[in-house]
Amino acid sequence: MPNPARPAMVMGLETEYSIYARGQSRTAPAKDGGQLKEMVDALIAEAFTDPLFTGPQLMVTHGQPHGLGWLHNGARLYNDMHSTPEYCTPECPRPDILVAHDQAGMLIEWRASLLAAQQLGYEIDLYKKNTDGHGHAYGCHENYCVSTRLWNKLFKGDVNLHQLIMATFFVVRPILTGAGKVGVENAVRTQPFQLSQRAEFISTFRSQITTSNRPILNERNEPHANADYWQRVHYIMGDANMCEASTYLKTGLTALMFMLLQDERNPGFHLPILDGQYPPMAHTVSLDPQFEARLPVQFATRDALYDTGTLPAPEILSRYLGRLAEYVQERPFQDAGEQAVYADVVARAQEYLATLRTGKIHRLYGVLDWPTKYALLENFLGKRGKTFADAAADDELRKKMRVYADHAFCSLDRERGLYFRLERAGHITRIVNDAQVLKATFQPPAGRPQLRTLLTDRFVGKIKDVDWAKVNIRSASGKSVTLKLNDPMLTVDDALIREIEGAKSPYELIQSIRRTNRTQIEIEE
């Protein structure tokens, strides 16, 4: 087999699921920390004692239930802030692979919630959503591995073109990738529906903070890599999506934007950028499902801005997609399959955006999240002789709409959740198939997650610690050695697999790595 090609990008998602006990209490989970923690702990314990997801090796390796928080598929699952079973997908080398791992996370969480409910004696409801409808938000964070050079441009120094281009893209991206929700939480308005769950929680352009004053550009500096070369962009304002195509476009388009901006061949941009305060413009885009608003823009080339007037948000997004369509063709990908996936991402995005702009929202029913919710709500209202205009003035009606769209639709219950009922009825456009999702519950993607799992499988019972970029192993002498996996884009060839699987001890593997000058693993004793 030829050595695998290095990917153009690796990326991942971190989803904070909502968890509720059924029939136990009508008090807020926030005021009931004991039960909330009990549910999350029980769910995670079940996931980590389920051989379907962990494999017997990892259970033995860790020695204690969910002690280290790593699943066999390279994902992390842990109790975040005693309030959510947060699932972090492994680093994925393509957006379609990430879709499979995101869906695998949903399956793992649901299965573990059923097992936890058996233990606890009450039912658990899990949701993939970003707000509680009462002004509290939580994240579906996106991670992209970028060059340190680009990261410094995006997150250090004065505001510059790279920051403005990326922020403009993030402001208009929810036109395609928003999860949609009923109502408005952070303002005295009675709008019945908006495109994004998270947009109204954006309150600043750039900062380090995540739980208040949330930024478009988050400066968190945790590269999980050799920071001389790679950094991790941690985007916190995206929505948690149910539809596979929404996740595919969200991550694929964003990955391409970062590829374009960090391309050392310095390709041109010639893109519109927003001119003014970005957070209010993000709110405007989300609150405008009819695309009536015009936003002030300037035009950006490589290093300069040109004044202009206003453009509708979909036109701004259309220009970005046009540039990405060119870029996919001009960029030298190492793998033709990878290029085909990114070309498919852009082609779908252009097609769906054109459909939305002609007002044919129902054609994207079952394709993208917010149009699906919008169409479902239109039917829901129509059966009751109501319209969205009626909902704007009717609190009780909006509450029923929230139950329908913001709970029932995004329930992880594969039997009764509305998304999964639509999927069973053949109304959901799939990007991956069930076999790929099932495989992703157990098998890590190629690259660094594969290497982590190879090492933890091989040295069962000797693993002291695991992190994104390291595996710490106890040797026979009692000393520990750290195998550093500092290259997030690394590839695993057959020779390396043979080397790891053939090593009779950590010492033998270390000697072998030193002899072969392996670049994927650095040894720290």
Binding site: L36, M81, G139, H362, E378, R402, V403, R416
Partner: protein, 55 residues
Amino acid sequence: MPERERRRPPQRVPPEPAPPDRERDPPPERDPLDDVDEDVERHEEHVEKEEPERE
């Protein structure tokens, strides 16, 4: 944007295309979720619950 990076107005802005004709589709003929009232109602007990702010 820092002032030093502004240039004006040496270049024409690409023209904005005519807005596409907007034409609403009718809703799907058959709602696949016709019989889901019970499955929706079971979520009503959670809709007033508040969650901790977190990231």
